[in-house]
């Protein structure tokens, strides 16, 4: 019994002393996605150490966070997420870490949807008869690079508020990021300009922001409704639509089944392209800029090939 008491005392002592002994100087940030992590790194640069929860290439709505990410959150200074109702696992994940500062409204949580002009905000009564609806609007806002500027600014404001001693550094990093992004946005827009008015079909309703940026129109989705798998009748309708309206591009994410898009492509002569919905989703989308380079080029080539303008 005495030994047990000693062991318990030692455990408490260890828990009390250890985290302080190994506390690092860098600002530890945990983000829900790798895309957000990349933006935070651009603004925080060497001052921040960023980890992310959702592995790229998995459906962000329904991942199962790894225990290692919970430990990272426990040690983190700031938690950054997409807000809205994108990450269905966010509540239990934050609660597992057990830190009130990361709970909604806490001092160390940041909702990146702040300041974003949201699309597709549902009107009137919403039920799941309409599929896996997002109550606050479409949450895939990071797929528009123009929103990247707002997100970066939000990150800058939060970091500066929490660490005013590094504000100048963060401001400089922000200005560099924005300057580079502005140039790239012009470059991407020039690349996409000749393709304005092009029409595409997407698997899930993940791309309205990117479509808005690219100036293309989403003719329909392979899912009958958000999150609801396609039916034979819906596919037949889609084939007719794509043939009638000469839609030659199907946009697909790596984590959705490939059989239906392939069948659809075979029936309509369309081309299936996989766009990266997150940094790191494929080898060409290594960082935030590379992700848009890849998405813009892939879409542009597919639309040109399909002469779908």
């Amino acid at each position: 019994m005495l030994l047990l008491k000693k062991l318990i005392f030692a455990l408490f002592l260890f828990l009390a002393v250890y985290p302080r002994a190994f506390a690092a100087d860098e600002i530890r940030v945990v983000t829900t996605t790798k895309t957000f992590a990349d933006i935070v790194k651009q603004v925080g640069s060497e001052r921040v150490k960023v980890d992310y929860v959702a592995p790229p290439g998995q459906n962000i709505h329904f991942i199962q966070p790894r225990p290692s990410t919970i430990v990272k959150l426990i040690k983190a200074d700031l938690f950054i997420h997409a807000g809205l109702d994108l990450e269905a696992w966010r509540g239990p994940f934050v609660e597992a870490a057990g830190k009130s500062k990361f709970l909604p409204g806490g001092d160390a949580e940041l909702d990146l949807s702040n300041g974003i002009r949201l699309l597709e905000i549902p009107q009137g009564q919403v039920t799941r008869a309409e599929g896996d609806m997002h109550l606050f609007g479409n949450p895939h806002y990071w797929t528009d690079p123009r929103n990247g500027k707002i997100m970066a600014r939000t990150v800058y404001q939060k970091l500066s508020e929490m660490y005013p001693e590094y504000e100048n550094e963060f401001r400089k990093n922000l200005e560099q990021f924005l300057s580079k992004l502005d140039k790239k946005i012009i470059e991407w827009q020039n690349c996409l300009k000749p393709l304005h008015g092009g029409r595409i079909v997407t698997y899930h309703n993940s791309w309205p922001y990117f479509a808005d940026f690219a100036g293309v129109e989403i003719a329909d989705h392979i899912e009958t409704r958000p999150g609801i798998p396609p039916t034979i009748r819906h596919i037949a309708k889609l084939i007719k639509l794509m043939r009638d309206e000469k839609v030659k591009v199907i946009v697909h994410e790596s984590y959705f089944e490939k059989t239906t898009p392939k069948k659809l492509a075979k029936q309509t002569g369309a081309r299936v392209i996989e766009l990266a919905s997150s940094v790191g989703e494929n080898k060409d989308a290594k960082d935030y800029f590379a992700m848009f380079n890849y998405n813009v080029n892939t879409l542009s080539e597919a639309l040109k090939a399909g002469n779908n303008v």
Binding site: F14, L15, L103, P104, G106
Partner: protein
């Protein structure tokens, strides 16, 4: 003459000022003029200086304006206007008093089964609403949250409602401990922690239902949880629980002493796509009985349950997922027979040698493959050396016993699941069960599960 003199004087007096003025005027005016000229010159100089300042400031303002315009072009052009901001949501907050409403969800679990087992006189071929679970939860204050699950079920024999879980979670205790108090599912391995509707299979593994109850064990108590810091940042989760030591087959129905549970789990990220969790459980409880048996040497904590659990998961590039999960338990029960049993209910206890097995054990292994968003299939294999048990009358008097321990049982259960959406699934499971006596049972299950309202994806 006098008059002339007076006139002369008056004229002189009148002339003197003008003469004086005539004499003085050029000098004073000149001075005044020069003063004024100096003042004007000074003013001009000041104005010139001010103009220079204004010009330089204007240049500066222009520079700043250009910078500001540039910044506006870079940043502000994308900011929404005031009317848009007014429409924007703030996280998950809803306007008005809706904020104070708890998150509410309903989970329905309907099971139909067709079986060869005739143990139940009414037959086990049935279709029932196995669970209709109302889930409530909301933050109480910045430090705590309350969650509850009220379950209604529609069994063959009776309909009932009970509190499956109702607990308060307190975050950020000293040393970053997290505490829960109330009624909850103890952290024993993996499956016991999950609601029935969250299982991969229609039925619970045999070892769980035999040791902890048909629906797993849910009991009142207090839980403390933490992650043990370590130099490798390895997630080492430790959970300690003090529980009502009853309401589970392994323990007494009316235990006066609490049960103690400790679970330790280590998680390993083997690669970007592979994870491995390994855990261990130690659970101490009591199965002693009131009355004569207490005096017959049964220990205070006569039931020791030791368990190991593990989950390996692999996520494929195409979104599919493979899971291998297993749990094994062994008990060390310290029954000292003879027991006193009133088998003929005459109020007189007979001394009986039960020959109970003190080391029942069991394990299961589950293989699950989620092919895509819609389809998954898998197989569970169970092995069990069941608990022996005493039988009691309504007043709690032991009236008999059964030695199940000789009935070593195995079961194999393949299943296939259609995930119609994230909130509705259909599952078919076949189970073949065989025990040491050669008695077999074949059962087919059909399950429909749905969920409405708030969707909280719990972490396993």
């Amino acid at each position: 003459m006098r008059t002339m003199s007076l006139l002369f004087c008056a004229l002189m007096l009148c002339q003197i000022p003008s003469a004086w003025a005539q004499e003085m005027a050029p000098k004073s005016f000149q001075d005044q003029l020069s003063r004024m000229e100096a003042a004007i010159s000074k003013l001009q100089s000041t104005v010139n200086n001010q103009n220079e300042v204004i010009q330089s400031q204007q240049i500066e303002i222009k520079d700043l304006s250009r910078k500001l315009l540039k910044q506006s072009a870079e940043i502000k052009t994308d900011l929404p206007n005031v009317s848009d901001l007014a429409k924007e949501p703030e996280g998950l907050r809803l306007p008005g008093t809706a904020n104070w409403n708890p998150e509410v969800g309903v989970v329905g679990d309907i099971v139909a089964q067709l079986t060869e087992d005739h143990a139940d006189e009414e037959g086990k071929d049935s279709i029932v609403v196995r669970e209709l679970e109302l889930v409530y939860g909301q933050y109480v204050d910045p430090y705590s949250r309350f969650d509850a699950a009220i379950v209604f079920n529609d069994g063959i024999e009776e309909q009932n409602a009970f509190i499956e879980q109702a607990y308060l979670t307190r975050y950020e205790l000293p040393f970053n401990f997290k505490a829960q108090i109330g009624k909850f599912r103890p952290k024993i391995g993996i499956v016991n922690l999950l609601d029935r509707h969250a299982l991969e299979t229609v039925t619970e593994p045999l070892v769980i239902s035999n040791f902890f109850g048909e629906e797993g064990w849910s009991t009142s108590g207090v839980r403390l949880q933490n992650y043990i810091p370590n130099p490798w940042d390895l997630p080492l989760e430790i959970t300690g629980e003090v529980l009502n030591g009853r309401e589970a087959p392994s323990f007494a129905d009316r235990a006066r002493r609490p049960a103690f549970n400790v679970h330790l789990k280590a998680s390993f990220d083997l690669s970007e796509s592979d994870t491995l969790d390994i855990g261990g459980t130690t659970l101490f409880g009591t199965d002693n009985l009131d009355g004569p048996l207490r005096d017959k040497g049964n220990d205070r904590y006569s039931v020791h349950v030791f368990g190991m659990d593990g989950v390996y998961m692999h996520h494929f590039q195409d979104g599919s997922r493979f899971k291998l999960q297993s749990e094994a338990y062994i008990q060390d029960r310290n029954f000292r027979t003879p027991f006193f049993i009133d088998s003929d209910a005459d109020g007189l206890f007979e001394v009986v040698e039960t020959g109970f097995d003190n080391n029942p054990y069991g394990f299961y292994t589950l293989v699950d493959y989620k092919m895509n968003k819609n389809w998954s299939f898998g197989l569970r294999f169970d092995w069990l050396k069941p608990l022996d048990s005493l039988e009691f009358d309504e007043s709690g008097v032991a009236t008999g016993f059964t030695r199940f321990g000789t009935d070593k049982t195995w079961e194999i259960s393949p299943y296939i699941t259609l995930h119609q959406s994230e909130f509705c699934l259909f599952r078919i499971q076949y189970s073949h069960t065989e025990n040491a006596q050669g008695i077999t049972d074949d059962a087919v299950f059909f399950q429909a599960r749905f969920q409405i309202g708030v969707d909280r994806h719990g972490l396993q």
